[in-house]
């Protein structure tokens, strides 16, 4: 039975660091260039060339370490991981082994019950990315593009503290958020700048010893990761319940078939023969350097969330959504800061209308067609009753389409709310007169019909009558007589 088993998951996240040039050479890291047009002699592993460390990656790794309460090593070493593969030009990857730059961090996430749990981060280390192998389009050959070779990676390894696919996703999302907050990575999963491998095992509930784990690779979206992990959990439980043994192996996730399958091993025996890279020297960071990095840290998601709840009196769930991305949080604050409206209302609009509009066009907040200050202007017009909330949605759409500010649109479309009581009374009278049957039924006790009358008045006024006043006047007039 599934509940007899406990799931143990550890995640290894590789995030590409957003530097201009590569970790060990001065070639560009820009995505999407012609094959091998950004692979210099160092990246190609030519005879005689040597690696020189990009200082920016050290700063970025240190800022990540501080953001997850980890120790930033004052001395760390690069090591060679030796294996043969065509997208690995030197026949070894420069990575870190015994002395990584970051160790012993942590991340708080919420479990399914909403409780806060702590996920340990064993280490984070720097390494270089490999190139790409293209298996289609070359007949009986594979084409190798080494543009990506040498792009800096930060490998973040969690303790096996995760207990479900959902927790794994929560952890991953948080790490994703942090690296984007720190501006050390663009976290673009489609482009491969944020990749995840999952180590999954199961053990009988109550057992301390870990079960045999399988490593899942090729997980490039949050959705796929969740499905892959869940498939794998079921697969392992089924094997064990049948009395079999889980093999320690690497498995790929097939998103089309929604299954994991065994991967042909890259190396017969994974003997990487790690040793300190003799072309590179120990990286030494002093207190001053680490403190400077600490001072330059931006407000991190958790702190920002707490502040939003405290400062803006937002609902916690809303604050969480807003602080997922620094850009979105910043946008919200500009709106809230520039508008007289309650911040919660600003939050509702950002999370609601604005996010829907962004999603519809699959664009990011950075490409929003309505600037934060402009949205603030729209909210002010609701707050000062120039327009109703419902009309505001119409205005929003027009603003999104580029028709100008809220005032421009209200002016151009004549959307100002009707608040003149006598004007409303006139229309109410006409509507009551036109619908005597319903008026009688209302007076006879059918209260629900108020909605019908409100609707009719709104229709007559093109939706511009102030709903509050309409309600009040209708009630009064329907009750009289």
């Amino acid at each position: 039975m599934k509940s007899d088993w406990e799931v143990v998951i550890g995640l290894e996240i590789h995030t590409q660091l957003a530097t201009e040039s590569k970790i060990f050479s001065g070639a560009s890291t820009a995505y999407g260039a012609d094959a091998n047009s950004q692979a210099c002699l160092v990246d190609l592993g030519y005879p005689g060339v040597l690696p020189v460390l990009n200082g920016e990656v050290v700063r970025m790794a240190a800022s990540f370490g501080l953001a997850v309460n980890a120790t930033v090593a004052q001395r760390s070493i690069f090591a060679r991981k030796n294996y043969f593969y065509p997208d690995l030009p030197k026949g070894y990857q420069i990575s870190q082994y015994e002395l990584p730059i970051v160790e012993n961090g942590e991340m708080m996430i919420r479990d399914e019950a909403g409780n806060e749990i702590r996920i340990g981060i064993t280490r984070a280390h720097l390494e270089e990315d490999a190139g790409k192998s293209v298996h289609e389009g070359f007949g009986n050959a594979t084409g190798i593009d080494l543009n990506r070779a040498g792009t800096p990676l930060l490998e973040i390894v969690s303790e096996p503290d995760l207990r479900s696919a959902k927790q794994a996703i929560a952890y991953m999302r948080k790490i994703h958020s942090i690296v984007r907050y720190l501006e050390i990575s663009d976290g673009n999963m489609q482009e491969g700048s944020f990749r995840c491998d999952a180590n999954v095992s199961v053990r009988p509930r109550g057992q301390e010893e870990l079960g045999t784990r399988a490593e899942l690779k090729n997980l490039n979206s949050f959705r796929f990761i969740e499905k892959a992990i869940n498939f794998e959990i079921d697969r392992q439980i089924e094997i064990l319940e049948d009395g079999g043994e889980v093999l320690q192996e690497t498995r790929l996730y097939d998103s089309v078939k929604d299954e994991t399958r065994s991967m042909r091993s890259k190396e017969e025996a994974n003997d990487y023969r790690y040793f300190p890279d003799p072309d590179l020297l120990p990286v030494e960071l002093d207190e001053e350097f680490i403190e400077a990095v600490r001072k330059a840290l931006p407000e991190l998601p958790d702190a920002k969330l707490a502040r939003f709840v405290d400062q803006y009196k937002l609902k916690s769930a809303d604050a969480e959504i807003l602080t997922h991305s620094r850009a979105l949080a910043d946008y919200f604050e500009v709106v809230a800061g520039n508008s007289n409206t309650e911040p919660q209302i600003a939050a509702n609009w950002v999370i609601g209308e604005l996010s829907a509009a962004l999603n519809k066009e699959s664009i990011d907040i950075g490409d929003s067609k309505i600037e934060a200050a402009a949205l603030a202007g729209l909210l002010d017009r609701i707050a000062d009753s120039t327009i109703s909330g419902k009309i505001a949605k119409e205005v929003f759409e027009a603003m999104w389409a580029g028709e100008g500010t809220a005032d421009d649109v209200i002016e151009a479309k004549g959307l100002k709310q009707i608040t003149d009581s006598s004007a409303i009374e006139g229309i109410v009278d006409a509507v009551i007169q036109a619908n005597p049957g319903q008026a009688a039924e209302y007076r006879g006790g059918k209260d629900k019909l108020l909605g019908f009358f409100v609707g009719q008045v709104m229709k007559e006024t093109g939706g511009k009558a102030n709903p509050g006043q309409v309600n009040e006047i209708l009630k009064k007039k329907l009750s009289d007589s």
Partner: protein, 491 residues
């Protein structure tokens, strides 16, 4: 010494420089003359893998023009040859191997760049043990180099081609590399001067890596003065090499005049044991005596772990090279086997066909000592012993300025004599390896003959003490004329 009337090929770089500046001959004439000599002796010596005649003549003409315009760069118009381990742009760079038999380098090594910038004229790329792995120049894919003193004998290695070319007066100077003695030992066996600088003194960028923490670029010349001249051009910080040291480059030539009087010379007890040939030992002792007569003090020093230097080296160097040579896989450059069945076949056959036996042995040794279960016992252990050996040197240098002794245990040996047992060959480096492990500068100078064959005296100094060892070498060369004596067939 009076006006130079010696034949062009017999003159040192300094002498040639004077001749060019005084208009006695042009760089063109000099270059043509040496190219002819190279050609005349190539069959016997096999010192060259590539001769860059056209390129050299172009450079020589350019140098003559520059001189006419007042450009008297340090090496303007002077001839140089580079060990084929240095990448030279647009020129075949084989590293003595079949796997790079078709490799035309797209860039110049820093050493080559600097020497070019000083105005030198490159005449060719010299033969060497494959990937610098060897002590006799017998592992080269391009055939062995013969010793100009006796063509049945090896000139030593791995910079055998450079040493033979200089000893045969075919060129006055050549670059070399030294990982375990590959400059100093062939210099000793050919009666030339061989200088290995401090680790990090000269850039390794463009010098194809054998053992990264041991490799250093250096020179083979006929005088300490020429070595000082070249070192001044080659040395200095290079941002493209992380292991390059940002240490000021002194005027090595000016420093040569420092007298030997007062110099404290350490004699290593462990050097003078049954491993050292008697004839060599005698020459060394005479040389040391001569220095003592000039006012140096001879002090016995102890390097208690020095006997472990060869086994230490043969763990560390193969380990590093096994990784450094993984890039030779037939994918992006170099030899690729025909019709590979799959990627595994491509790798195994390209490398199996492309690398010679010694290289394969060292790659496998290195793979073994780094492999799971053996790393601690071999690689880690060797690194600790390396620390011990370095500490021994440090302690010794607290009491002495240089350590002097034999460069090699014997004079030149016969080609084919030591190839059966790898260990026998490895023991040729018994006196030189320590300096590589500790990163110390060392120079070998000719100090006489034993059975008609040259013997070398080695001087090793603390880190960045090139001035000290070169000055001592130069002063020794004021007292003696061993360095002016060349093989008769090549006079």
């Amino acid at each position: 010494m009076g006006q130079d009337t010696a034949a062009l090929h017999a003159r040192s770089l300094s002498e040639l420089s004077r001749g060019l500046n005084e208009g006695e001959f042009t760089s063109r004439e000099l270059t043509e003359s040496l190219l002819q000599r190279i050609d005349d002796h190539q069959e016997q010596l096999n010192a060259f893998i590539t001769v860059t005649a056209d390129h050299a003549l172009q450079r020589a003409d350019a140098a003559d023009k520059a001189r006419a315009n007042g450009d008297t760069g340090t090496l303007n118009g002077l001839p140089i040859v580079h060990k084929d381990l240095f990448c030279t742009k647009g020129v075949l760079t084989t590293c003595g191997s079949h796997i790079l038999g078709n490799f035309v380098s797209p860039y110049d090594a820093t050493v080559v760049e600097r020497i070019n910038a000083a105005g030198a004229v490159m005449l060719g790329k010299t033969n060497m043990d494959e990937f610098a792995m060897g002590s006799s120049n017998e592992t080269s894919y391009y055939g062995p180099v013969t010793n100009p003193w006796n063509e049945k004998l090896s000139p030593g290695g791995s910079s055998g081609g450079s040493a033979a070319a200089v000893a045969a007066r075919v060129v006055p100077a050549a670059t070399g590399t030294d990982t375990g003695g590959s400059i100093r030992q062939p210099a000793a066996l050919t009666g030339t001067v061989g200088l290995k600088p401090t680790y990090g003194r000269v850039s390794r960028y463009g010098m194809v890596a054998f053992a990264s923490s041991l490799d250093q670029a250096g020179v083979i010349t006929r005088s300490a003065e020429d070595a000082a001249l070249l070192l001044g051009v080659m040395a200095g910080y290079d941002r493209r090499d992380s292991t390059s040291v940002d240490h000021p480059v002194p005027d090595y030539v000016a420093a040569l005049s420092k007298p030997v009087k007062g110099l404290k010379i350490g004699i290593v007890r462990q050097h003078f044991d049954e491993g050292l040939d008697a004839g060599c030992e005698e020459r060394i002792k005479v040389a040391l005596s001569a220095l003592k007569d000039q006012g140096a003090t001879l002090i016995e020093v102890d390097l208690p772990n020095i006997d472990l230097s060869v086994p230490t080296y043969y763990v560390v160097a193969p380990a590093e090279c096994s990784s450094n040579l993984s890039r030779f896989d037939g994918v992006r450059f170099g030899h690729r086997s025909d019709n590979p069945e799959d990627i595994l076949d491509l790798y195994c056959r390209s490398r199996g066909e492309g690398f010679g036996a010694e290289v394969q042995r060292r790659v496998m040794t290195g793979t073994y000592v780094l492999s799971a279960g053996y790393y601690d016992a071999y690689y880690l252990k060797a690194q600790k012993v390396r620390q011990l050996i370095s500490q021994d040197f440090k302690k010794a240098f607290a009491n002495v300025d240089v350590i002097a002794g034999p460069t090699a245990p014997t004079t030149a040996f016969a080609i084919g004599e030591k190839t059966d047992d790898p260990i026998t060959m490895y023991l040729n480096d018994i006196y030189t390896i320590g300096a590589n492990l500790a990163g110390l500068p060392g120079v070998s100078v000719p100090c006489g003959f034993a059975d008609g064959l040259p013997v070398g005296l080695q001087l090793v100094g603390p880190h960045f003490a090139e001035e000290t060892i070169l000055a001592c070498a130069h002063q020794y060369q004021q007292l003696t004329d061993w360095h002016t004596q060349g093989p008769e067939d090549f006079s």
